[in-house]
Symmetry: D3
Subunit: 134 residues, 6 copies
Amino acid sequence: MATMTLLDDADLSPAAAEVFADIRATRGTDYVNNFWRALANDPALLRATWDRLKDVMAPGALDPLTKEMIYIAVSAANACTYCAHSHTASARARGMTEAQYAELLSVIGMAMQTNGLVSAMQVPVDPAFDASSA
Amino acid sequence: MATMTLLDDADLSPAAAEVFADIRATRGTDYVNNFWRALANDPALLRATWDRLKDVMAPGALDPLTKEMIYIAVSAANACTYCAHSHTASARARGMTEAQYAELLSVIGMAMQTNGLVSAMQVPVDPAFDASSA
Amino acid sequence: MATMTLLDDADLSPAAAEVFADIRATRGTDYVNNFWRALANDPALLRATWDRLKDVMAPGALDPLTKEMIYIAVSAANACTYCAHSHTASARARGMTEAQYAELLSVIGMAMQTNGLVSAMQVPVDPAFDASSA
Amino acid sequence: MATMTLLDDADLSPAAAEVFADIRATRGTDYVNNFWRALANDPALLRATWDRLKDVMAPGALDPLTKEMIYIAVSAANACTYCAHSHTASARARGMTEAQYAELLSVIGMAMQTNGLVSAMQVPVDPAFDASSA
Amino acid sequence: MATMTLLDDADLSPAAAEVFADIRATRGTDYVNNFWRALANDPALLRATWDRLKDVMAPGALDPLTKEMIYIAVSAANACTYCAHSHTASARARGMTEAQYAELLSVIGMAMQTNGLVSAMQVPVDPAFDASSA
Amino acid sequence: MATMTLLDDADLSPAAAEVFADIRATRGTDYVNNFWRALANDPALLRATWDRLKDVMAPGALDPLTKEMIYIAVSAANACTYCAHSHTASARARGMTEAQYAELLSVIGMAMQTNGLVSAMQVPVDPAFDASSA
């Protein structure tokens, strides 16, 4: 159950079908997950989201697995059910070990905890942390 | 301005002073930041938080810089002002380059965006993502 | 599955039944959704919530459809499953087109993204934005 | 700096002045804090918010101090700077001891931590927790 | 469906089994809920989480029921499905009445509302709330 | 104080300067606010963010003022200080009246409140809200 129909391949507009073809080619799999099938109702949003995701998650100064773990961290903080599932699956597909996942979970738990403490106590930022003046 | 007095070294209880000594020894610096000076009002919470943080952020299956970047990601999602400042400073102290930081920011932005889209559309989780049955 | 029994009409207290009657009269439908059936366990909270909602969502300086879209935006940011579903249904019932929904989603995604970037970078507010001095 | 002018007593509309009089009488102090001075720009929202707050925070099945601590907990999770400050001040005014505050902070930290772990791992709800069927 | 296998008793490592034994002894029930069965994949995280939770939720300056209600408040603000269910069940097991629960819900709703208003209007903190200078 | 230097025009790379020129031309003002001056440290992220924002906030099925109000709603839910200030200023620049702003605030407050109630009670979604099957 979603707020939008999940489109089957047969129901895609030509513009959406083109994005699906790129998803399949980039990922090397025929499987296209539900997120894209929901976005496919708006080919412009589908295109913009996919193009940006492909750029952002590509190897660069950070490797793709590190990026997936950062993605999981944001998704956990935002309580995003779908995103937690999909990016944990992606991270495993990129080689995340169970030991790495356990440490990722520990860091998420620790950060959540100190975020809550700090937001409750409203600790003022140390001037030593200032990075905004060259 | 905080909801608690930030304790100077002279005002620490012996139990809190012991934690501060461990923070200084572990980090190799005399500087103890405001978060710990606020927590020092409750030595038990100070001790539990520091002991756990030291464990969680130590090198393991993930390196300390990766852990700091994950910490920043959670803190950004939670809009934790102090945490964003302190952990960005820590990440830089551990060698985060500006290129890495730029990619970290890009992943945070992307994750926030798709978290919002997914939470709005309530996309159902693909059975293919299931990792809960051995 | 909820933390409270969803009350059938037959199980309502007289005070709750009165609110349900007003919901039905105001909305012009016999259908009363689960949110109210959960709140009905506490007739005072049911009454206060419904009375305020009716006021807030009534036509005024903003039209009801705009209000529903704002409601969806908050609910997406808060990852509120029920609210995303119920207010998207309401917005469609008030005439939201698929083109409007697609743009609403795009704005939600954009706002989430820049919220995350800003909270990570802790950008200081421009004095030019100050509206607090007359 | 706020998005609205904080109104001085001299600038209040008669409707807002009436609410301020009730705030003063109820709280037994002449001091009216900034939240109400911002809301005073819209007397209807000021009235609705104050009337509801007065009801909700009054002694009942829960005592006012417990209610203030619950308020702090929500405000910490939402990273609401103003609310953390104002409700911690209120809780202290209602007799919150430093020992109680320390335990409140510990529970907030613990809840944030397990919220993050659960949202990352997407643990399915135990059927044993079901309270929705009478 | 979770991102981790929920471990049966038969699949526990000795270290995890020891924690489960302590959970059962402390709670006086044989039932161990899914959260711990997910964490059991990482005995170190399981141990750290359980030891801290046992400490934090024990009777002290605040009674266990008050602590459970604070836990529910944080979990609601974070939209944590599992946590809302499990801690509402725990609170009821510790004697929370329906009247107390109704007031808890009312305070959560009120706090969420004013958190949103304050975060929208960015009300500056009253100097009168300052507690950080002794 | 930010985690990044806010770049003056004189310190921009040619790629960043090009984006600033487009911001000025599009908005018809010489003023470029701090958000862009922070992003300017990474011209690729600056470019991607600006290009997408320009598209998303342009007139379409929703008018620009409605889009700004939706943006404010998300930013309030996320407690994004900078975003609340900047988008409230933008909304006023696009003609938002104080009466509209008051109603926007009321809807944000109402949505936050019912989001919290629903997330606490975990109300199951009514099958009547299903929009996912054509």
